[in-house]
Amino acid sequence: MKLTLRIWRQAGPADSGRMVAYEVPDANPDMSFLELLDVLNERLTLEGDDPVTFDHDCREGICGACGVVINGQAHGPRERTTTCQLHMREFSDGDVIDVEPWRSVAFGVVKDLMVDRSGLDRIIRAGGYVSVNTGSAPEAHATPVPKPIADTAFDNATCIGCGACVAACPNGSAMLFTSAKVTHLNSLPQGAPERSERVLNLVEAMDAEGFGGCTNTGECTNACPKGIPLDSIATLNREYLRASLGRK
């Protein structure tokens, strides 16, 4: 396949950045999107050019590092698929593909396609955990959890913290991410003792990072590679209201 990539190039946080076009004449439909960038980068390196910086780690859709906006869609055109799991067979020979970094005031561009997502880490640090002593794992049946609740918690625990929800949201809001943490931990008995403090702390941290608010547009859930539903945001709102009314 012959493809034209128009990629956001930005030397550093202070640079203003621009879209630059590159031809990739030797793309293969079985390549992943990141492998396509690897091929381009090898050539750029040999030619003495600066390779395109992009974030990645696991390349199997579980670490959340690799997100970029492809043709205006976070993680590209395929539903519930991270950039690393997107294959070039989704595109056609001769396509022009625009590749841009996540856009949000809370995610500064580090270089090219790589952004600083540490704002999400700081939200986690504010309450995305349960305070239990670590040690040997407890007996699995010691704390019974009804199946529907376990399922809800598990579905929300699949959030990989990629930030596609923020990138897709017209308000750069991190509500879907935060709601996944709150729904995951607050619905389980293990999370119950910190239920109110957790949601108050997470929302405070989320607001402090400069993320926008939720206007219920639903762009986040459409972009989410793990299919975290809008229902989780309703749960976050409910938990926040409950905690604000002083319930423990």
């Binding site: 856009r103 600083d116 750069g172 926008g212 608010g213 547009t217 639903g218 309703a234 709102n237 409910r238």
Partner: protein, 246 residues
């Protein structure tokens, strides 16, 4: 070779935030979810008022005496516990408070939202959300201007052509006989319908009442209320302009 390892930028200066107050309602109001909740509660309060208002307006089809008598009665609600027109003033106070809180929250949240996403994508995003979602802000501003115009027209009677206190029926007829006044009302009520169509579902979401199993019902009620209010409010001006009331 020009390979450079990106260095982490210094952490961007985060917006200064007042420390958490020991007064919980203040923290609530400062948070994005808290302000949104204020919008949901005040929006639903205005919605309840609009339903009663719309139904009351339809009494105009029973004729001048009936309608003027009804308008008179509105000033006596709550008597004799409340003094004459007290209820009316309490309602006006509560509604004004609701409009102000709704608009202030909308303004503050919108400013924050616009600041949070300053850079657009070079490749335009294909929005999945519908039209009603996109006109919440402009529609809200239109409604605010309309509310002021409406009060000058029928409450203070400043802009009313007939403008006689107590003669509600003739005041209404005098305004809606002018085509462009009716046109303003049609436009405003279409925006109202759109605002409620997204706003009702949105308020249920904000208050944490939505569940996947209720989603269709909540969307259905939102559309039903939007159509009911838009049509219910527009029957009167259209009937006047068409000469059916007058």
């Amino acid at each position: 070779m020009a390979v450079t390892t990106p260095t982490r930028p210094a952490p961007a200066a985060r917006p200064a935030r007042p420390a958490r107050s020991s007064f919980a309602p203040l923290n609530f109001w400062r948070s994005t979810i808290g302000k949104k909740t204020v919008m949901a509660v005040t929006g639903l309060l205005m919605l309840a008022f609009l339903l009663a208002h719309m139904l009351g307006n339809l009494k105009i089809f029973y004729g001048r005496d009936d309608f003027d008598h009804y308008a008179d009665w509105l000033r006596t609600i709550g008597e004799p516990v409340l003094h004459g027109a007290w209820y009316l003033w309490i309602q006006r106070f509560v509604l004004t408070l609701a409009v102000v809180l709704h608009a202030v929250s909308a303004y503050q949240l919108s400013r924050r939202d616009l600041k949070a996403r300053p850079a657009k994508y070079a490749h335009k995003q294909r929005a999945k959300a519908g039209y009603a979602v996109h006109v919440m802000r402009y529609g809200g501003i239109t409604l605010a201007l309309f509310i002021i115009y409406h009060i000058l027209d029928f409450t203070s009677l400043t802009l009313n052509r007939h403008g006689v206190e107590g003669a509600a029926y003739d005041n209404v007829v005098s305004s809606f006989s002018v085509w462009w006044v009716t046109a303003i009302y049609i436009l405003a009520m279409i925006f109202l319908g759109l605002h409620i169509q997204h706003g009702f579902w949105s308020a249920a979401q904000t208050l944490g009442l939505n569940r996947p199993s209720r989603d269709r019902a909540v969307h259905g009620i939102a559309t039903g209320l939007a159509v009911l209010l838009t049509v219910g409010f527009l029957i009167v001006p259209v009937a006047v302009l068409a000469g059916l009331v007058g």
